[in-house]
């Protein structure tokens, strides 16, 4: 009974202090909402200019004609140097290409195949272009236009040489060859496994929501440091209150704040962004999975915040260490820059950032319409990370409250 009253007090004071802390609320709820708005709209039009060059592109040649090396050469000659092209070994399979694209290791994949034999009047080579579903629309557009340009260039060259051949002989048989070497570009409307292509909002909304969740480490640790500095913790230590009561008092109110924050940016992405001319956020069809990954990310963020709170001593440390560590996690986790534009070495680092697990989970649901089973590995990662942080934080806090 006594513990219940204590728990109520611990929750109550934290909630009240938080509600009256306009700064913290601004950081936690308004900041991500503003960022989502700005970044989603800004990247909508300008992201293409900001893509780090070169963008990685692979070619799988199933047609086994001379077209593949010529296309590769044409892409290589692109004066904008926007792509780095790699022709895959002929033994590579579509499954391998799918993996490369979906893990974000390459931004664009081209699969060259022979067209169906009965369509003799159509070009003989079909170039199918695949992009990572999470690739921002601007990058996707850039990739497509580069491939188009290269193919148009090849077409022009081929036409020129065909015409040259036609001139001296004058035979009509040459007309046939006019279409024979032609290639047709098919942009896959759907990802390799049938999901719709992503929008700027689908990258930015979950990314900034996650960043804000982890940024909560700052106000959370500041609140504990203030309790230390204001002597409140000393008074609490003089009362028969166990540390778990005080920790729980910190977790729940911030959990609610994070949940509100996420709801705000999701609604913003779904309803406000399209009004302002941006892509509307579609959130898939798996509310349960969404709830699970959101809760796991939320708890991981709060546990990390508690860990920071029990490690740092001053408000300055909380602010600088909190901000720097969270920004590093965000940078390597594909929050600030999408993973697929990173070089392979960096991409391997992404897998160790809790924020990338969260982003992966959200994008599986939003972009690829996946459900619970797909996001479970990411969920377990987040829960594991959160548990480790929480155990260390609880041990440190318990030690702090005990007679020294």
């Amino acid at each position: 009974m006594r513990r219940l009253h204590q728990l109520r007090a611990a929750l109550g004071k934290e909630a009240l202090a938080l509600i009256r802390d306009t700064e913290a609320l601004l950081i936690l709820i308004v900041m991500p909402a503003v960022f989502v708005l700005i970044m989603s709209l800004a990247l909508q039009d300008t992201f293409a200019h900001q893509i780090p060059k070169p963008m990685r592109l692979v070619i799988l040649d199933e047609a086994h004609t001379t077209f593949a090396p010529r296309l590769t050469a044409a892409l290589h000659k692109d004066p904008s140097l926007a792509v780095s092209v790699q022709a895959l070994d002929n033994r590579a399979s579509r499954a391998h290409v799918r993996k490369l694209v979906h893990t974000g290791r390459v931004a664009v994949a081209l699969v060259l195949s022979q067209s169906q034999p009965h369509h003799t009047h159509t070009p003989s080579i079909v170039v199918t272009l695949y992009t990572n579903p999470a690739l921002p629309a601007q990058m996707r557009a850039l990739g497509i236009s580069l491939v188009r340009q290269a193919m148009a260039q090849l077409d022009a060259t081929r036409l020129a040489s065909t015409l040259q051949q036609l001139m001296p002989s004058g035979t009509p048989s040459g007309l046939l060859t006019l279409t024979q070497g032609a290639a047709r570009l098919e942009v896959a409307k759907q990802g390799l496994n049938g999901a719709p292509t992503p929008t700027s909002a689908q990258q930015n909304v979950p990314a900034w929501a996650l960043l804000a969740m982890f940024f909560l480490a700052i106000p959370l640790s500041v609140s504990l440091i203030k309790e230390r500095q204001q002597g409140v913790l000393l008074r609490l230590r003089s009362l028969p209150v166990p540390s778990w009561v005080l920790l729980t008092g910190k977790i729940l109110p911030y959990f609610v704040v994070n949940t509100i924050q996420l709801a705000v940016v999701l609604l913003e992405g779904m309803y406000l962004l399209p009004l302002l001319g941006g892509d509307a956020l579609t959130i898939g069809h798996a509310p349960l999975a969404l709830g699970v990954i959101a809760t796991a990310a939320n708890l991981a963020a709060i546990s990390y915040g508690l860990l920071v709170a029990t490690v740092v001593r001053t408000q300055e440390q909380a602010t600088s260490f909190g901000a720097v560590s969270v920004l590093i996690m965000a940078a390597i986790g594909g929050i600030l820059v999408p993973t697929m534009v990173m070089p392979p070495v960096m991409q391997r680092f992404a897998a160790i950032s809790p924020m990338s697990w969260g982003l992966d989970g959200f994008q599986a649901i939003f972009v690829r319409n996946e459900g619970l089973t797909t996001i479970l590995p990411d969920t377990w990662h987040l829960i594991g990370f959160g548990t480790v942080c929480l155990i260390v934080a609880a041990a440190r806090f318990r030690h702090e409250l005990r007679p020294q």
């Binding site: 009253h5 009240l16 020294q404």
Partner: protein, 342 residues
């Protein structure tokens, strides 16, 4: 023991200050500190060095000492915030290690620095700490009303604490510790940096609490307030307890052997060597225009002092024999002036 306290706590006592403390007989030991050593991690010497102190229930004990003497450290160990390196502490017969919750229920700590949520109102602070102490419902509200009235905070109870004056914050800081009605109240320099009215109000509060039988430990820098308020005094210096007793006994014991004379400033240089040479004067301090003689027996030596001065045509402006004040006692004991210490 524990059940008993719980019973007292659950009895609504909105109008009386404490129903609990009256049940103690005056001679019962409230606090028994035995040979306690306190040392901070990484400190090269102990901050509390084999201190033994006993406090009877219902006493107001003034704990005096210059800055850094170890007052806060001793109170921290009493309140189970710090673990003694050796020695034992019993509070109403309980040790912390055996009964941690019941032990903490016995002591209300008023920390040296303010310990309040500045963004919350007085009422909200009281509710938080009341619940943390295990109070709830009607009983909590009765105790909160009592605390607000007791500290005279009715007018401002629903304002945020950050808007309070220093004095009001101190008063709230004090009554917050009273919420669960603990039999022992420990105050660490509760009147530092506040206006005389608030200080007066706090002293009045403490006298009222003392009359109901609470045991009060009060540390201070201000000798006069300790003189006015406390029944007993303990003096700490460099981690050691160098005196403990009632005010009268201490004064008699430590300042009873002195004669203090005030001269015209120009006479000091003539008077000092004459006085120092007298039989029975074993020490002398000169602080123009005062000369203080330490003698084996001041009343017996007084005629001798006066006649020697008469011969040199010197006459003191004022003359004081025996006890002067606590400041002097303190100075004699520690060689430090309490107020002058940094």
């Amino acid at each position: 023991m524990r059940l008993f306290f719980r019973d007292m706590l659950t009895r609504p006592t909105p109008t009386t200050v404490s129903a609990f403390a009256n049940t103690h007989t005056a001679s019962e030991l409230a606090i028994d500190i035995h040979e306690v050593v306190g040392r901070y991690p990484r400190a090269d010497r102990a901050s509390i060095d084999h201190v033994s102190l006993q406090v009877r229930a219902g006493t107001i004990l003034g704990l005096l000492g210059p800055n850094g003497a170890g007052k806060t450290t001793l109170l921290s160990m009493l309140c189970a915030l710090m673990r003694p390196r050796s020695g034992t502490i019993q509070v109403h017969g309980l040790q912390f290690k055996d009964h941690p919750d019941a032990y903490k229920d016995l002591i209300g700590l008023v920390p040296q620095s303010l310990a309040l949520y500045s963004r919350l109102t007085a009422r909200e602070n009281l509710a938080v700490f009341g619940r943390m102490s295990g109070l709830a419902g009607r009983q909590l509200h009765a105790r909160m009303d009592f605390a607000i009235a007791f500290a005279g905070l009715e007018e401002v109870a629903d304002q945020r604490v950050e808007r309070y004056s220093g004095g009001l914050q101190r008063r709230l800081n004090l009554v917050t510790a009273l919420l669960p009605d603990p039999p022992i109240l420990v105050l660490d320099e509760p009147t530092v940096g506040i206006d005389p009215q608030s200080r007066h109000a706090i002293h009045e509060n403490l006298r009222q609490l003392s009359r109901t039988g609470k045991t009060i430990i009060y540390t201070s820098h201000y000798l006069d307030e300790v003189e006015q308020l406390c029944d007993e005094i303990a003096i700490l210096d460099r981690g050691r307890l160098i005196a403990q007793g009632s005010l009268g006994v201490l004064l008699a014991q430590f300042t009873g052997n002195q004669i203090e004379l005030r001269f015209e400033p120009q006479s000091i240089s003539t008077a000092a060597p004459i006085l120092r040479a007298l039989a029975g004067v074993y020490d002398m301090t000169v602080a123009t225009p005062l000369i203080t003689l330490m003698t084996d027996n001041p009343y017996q030596r007084l005629p001798q002092v006066l006649s020697a001065l008469e011969v040199a045509h010197l006459r003191p402006l004022t003359l004081m024999v025996g006890a002067r004040d606590l400041e002097q006692t303190f100075l004699n004991l520690t060689g430090t002036r309490l107020r002058d210490t940094p």
